[in-house]
């Protein structure tokens, strides 16, 4: 539970960073319901790269775990981790636990 809370904080911090790169009316809300990538997602491919790298760097710093959110393994998941904030947090929790 504690880990999930920490992961959520990390994701929201990364969203704050990436939001600086987005116009005011297209910024990502800090909510688990927020859709990131796909037909109803708020990010284009560059936005996905920016957010994934920001999250990966923070996770590595906080947990000492190296994750790849847009690598082959992540792409092979049933739900793409970068599809929504919820799927991102879920994938990170699973990866950190596994490590």
């Amino acid at each position: 539970m504690q880990t999930t809370h920490q992961i959520t904080e990390i994701v929201f911090e990364a969203i704050d960073e990436v939001n600086q790169l987005l116009p005011r009316d297209r910024r990502i809300p800090k909510s688990e319901d927020a859709m990131l990538f796909g037909p109803s997602g708020l990010l284009d491919s560059m936005g996905v790269v920016n957010l994934s790298v920001a999250v990966e760097e923070k996770v590595e710093k906080k947990f000492g775990v190296s994750v790849s959110l847009i690598g082959d393994e992540a792409m092979g998941e049933e739900v793409f981790p970068m599809e929504s904030v919820q799927s991102l947090i879920g994938y990170l929790a699973k990866s950190i636990k596994k490590d």
Partner: protein
């Protein structure tokens, strides 16, 4: 430059994040940004018909990677032998492309080259001129600057500072391999901040006056309580040394034209005694263009100081250790920039140095002399009560105005004055040196610059009038006067000179027209036009005219000559 400058980004890497940061930045000026095709730097610079130039950008920013733009550098990185002459030759070739492209722009910004810290070349031997990557990079950047600094309108920006500010994570291999973006967002943020500050400076928006508090800001301690002998300035304490460095940093800004003033709640005689008598005080009272040392509201004091110095509040920065005073000034005077200030005095010098609001668009001798000029102004004012009337005081100044045509010698200063002056500026036209030179080349256009001197000193080149003639009438295009010399009827002397020139020309125009173009800042110009000898149009209060058959009187206290 237009109100919302159009910026073209040209790069051999993915520069979309910088474009986004500049576009989303809400500080003035708001910019519209386009990106040239990725990786086509030389093609974009050469091909003026390419789509990138269709938007007619005001400015372009070129940021390249050294191993991509300079093939010899790539060979050097691969430990292949490269002659220095070849390396420099390729840099000069690149510079020639930049110079050619700059003809399509008001401003061209070029970033210096940098490599990631893990590109270590020869390790400890990397600064050797033979084979060292570090040494080669220094040489390349130096060569680039040497060629480009001679070009008006091209500005080389130090990308390595942005990278240093952001530390070890500046270069991001993850962003590079996923998106061909070499830098983390923090580096682009630094670049965007500096670029915007530069654009503001070029548009005359750089701050010109620092108003500082005294107790626990300029020095440690409350002088009224502890006496000047016991203030913390210098000595052998960390805090005392930091205060000296803070004062040195203020003095350095003053040396390049930023004015210093004081707003302090103190007894004036006690505070001034501290400035004069403390042996380690770097700043003395003569370094300040003005002060308000009293027990009044600081916001009111700052407004009064700005008025005394003929500066708008948008030119002012207020520094105070007390958050309550900062909050009060922010609330009362929203145009004044009040930076957050660190609690520890050890951080004061770096906090001051980090401010981009004083970044200059250019530096002239007049800038360097500005602080002295305001000190002369203070002496002038203090002399005024000694004489009876305003006319007598003006006469006592022995004011001399020298007119001169635009020339290579004064082009930089004239352009700077045109672009920096906000208050006494009739049309607020902004032009680059190149554009101004081209404008004057036309037979129907004329421009005169004016130098102002008096018994207290030389204020330098501080006035401009330009005129265009068409169909038997002449129109004033620019009427500009530095706030440093306002209030002495120099404006009337300038109009007298221009009318005399038109009357003496082979085909004198019947009428000289002037149209005031209002901005948020140039109300003083309308005030002048309204009280001038010009005739105000009944139909439009912003239109003025003068029948050239009549002489426009020169103020009696001004001695006017033509250089």
């Amino acid at each position: 430059m237009s109100a919302a400058p159009k910026i073209l980004l040209i790069s051999d890497f993915n520069i979309a994040n910088l474009a986004a940061l500049i576009s989303n930045d809400e500080s003035e000026p708001s910019c519209s940004v386009t990106i040239a095709p990725f990786g086509q730097v030389d093609q974009t610079l050469i091909d003026h018909r390419s789509a990138s130039w269709m938007e007619t950008p005001d400015a372009a920013f070129v940021w390249t990677q050294p191993h991509v733009e300079i093939p010899s550098f790539a060979r050097l990185v691969a430990n292949q032998p490269v002659e220095q002459e070849v390396l420099v030759g390729e840099v000069e070739q690149f510079a020639r492309l930049l110079i050619a492209a700059s003809g399509r722009l008001k401003h061209l910004f070029v970033a210096t080259w940098a490599v990631p810290p893990w590109v270590r070349g020869l390790g400890p031997l990397d600064m050797r001129s033979s084979g060292g990557i570090g040494a080669a990079l220094l040489l390349m950047n130096h060569s680039l600057v040497q060629v480009l600094e001679k070009e008006a309108g091209i500005h080389v920006l130090d990308a390595r500072r942005w990278i240093e500010v952001c530390g070890g994570g500046s270069f991001s291999p993850k962003l590079w391999y996923n998106s061909k973006t070499p830098f983390n967002t923090a580096v682009f943020m630094q670049a965007a901040v500096e670029l915007k500050a530069f654009l503001r400076a070029l548009a005359g928006g750089a701050r010109k006056l620092i108003v500082t508090d005294l107790d626990d800001t300029l020095w440690g301690g409350v002088v009224g309580d502890v006496g000047w002998e016991n203030l913390s300035v210098g000595g052998h304490s960390a805090e005392g040394e930091a205060r000296v460095d803070f004062q040195r940093a203020l003095k350095a800004l003053s040396n390049r034209g930023i004015l210093l003033a004081i707003a302090s709640k103190n007894q004036e005689s006690v505070a001034l005694e501290a400035l004069e008598r403390h042996p380690e005080m770097v700043l003395r009272s003569a370094d300040f263009a003005g002060w308000r040392i009293n027990w009044q509201d600081k916001a009111a004091n700052i407004a009064s100081l700005a008025q005394e110095l003929n500066l708008g509040l948008q030119s002012v920065v207020f520094i105070d250790d007390n958050p309550a005073e900062r909050g009060r000034v922010r609330e009362a005077l929203p145009e004044v920039f009040v930076p957050d200030w660190p609690e520890s005095p050890l951080l004061y010098p770096s906090a001051l140095g980090s401010l981009t609001c004083f970044d200059p668009g250019s530096i002239s001798q007049e800038d360097r002399d500005r602080a002295g000029s305001y000190q002369q102004e203070r002496q002038r004012r203090s002399s005024s009560p000694l004489v009876g009337s305003m006319d007598e005081w003006l006469l006592s100044l022995e004011l001399r105005v020298v007119a001169e045509e635009l020339s290579a010698a004064n082009l930089q200063r004239v352009t700077q004055l045109l672009n920096k002056t906000n208050q006494m500026n009739m049309s607020t036209r902004r032009l680059s040196e190149k554009e101004l030179s081209q404008w004057v080349e036309s037979e129907v256009n004329r421009l005169w610059a004016f130098r102002v001197m008096d018994s207290f000193g030389d204020s330098g080149l501080t006035g401009i009038v330009s005129v265009t003639t068409a169909g038997g009438a002449a129109g004033i295009v620019d009427l500009v006067l530095s706030c440093r010399v306002m209030g002495r009827n120099v404006e009337d002397a300038m109009l007298h000179f221009v009318v005399s020139q038109l009357r003496g020309s082979p085909n004198p125009p019947a009428l000289l027209k002037a149209r005031y173009v209002p901005t948020a800042k140039n109300a003083p110009c309308l005030e002048f036009l309204s009280r001038s000898q010009l005739l105000r149009s009944e139909g439009d209060p912003h239109d003025f005219s003068w029948a050239c058959e009549d002489e426009y009187k020169c103020p009696a206290h001004v001695s006017l000559t033509c250089h």
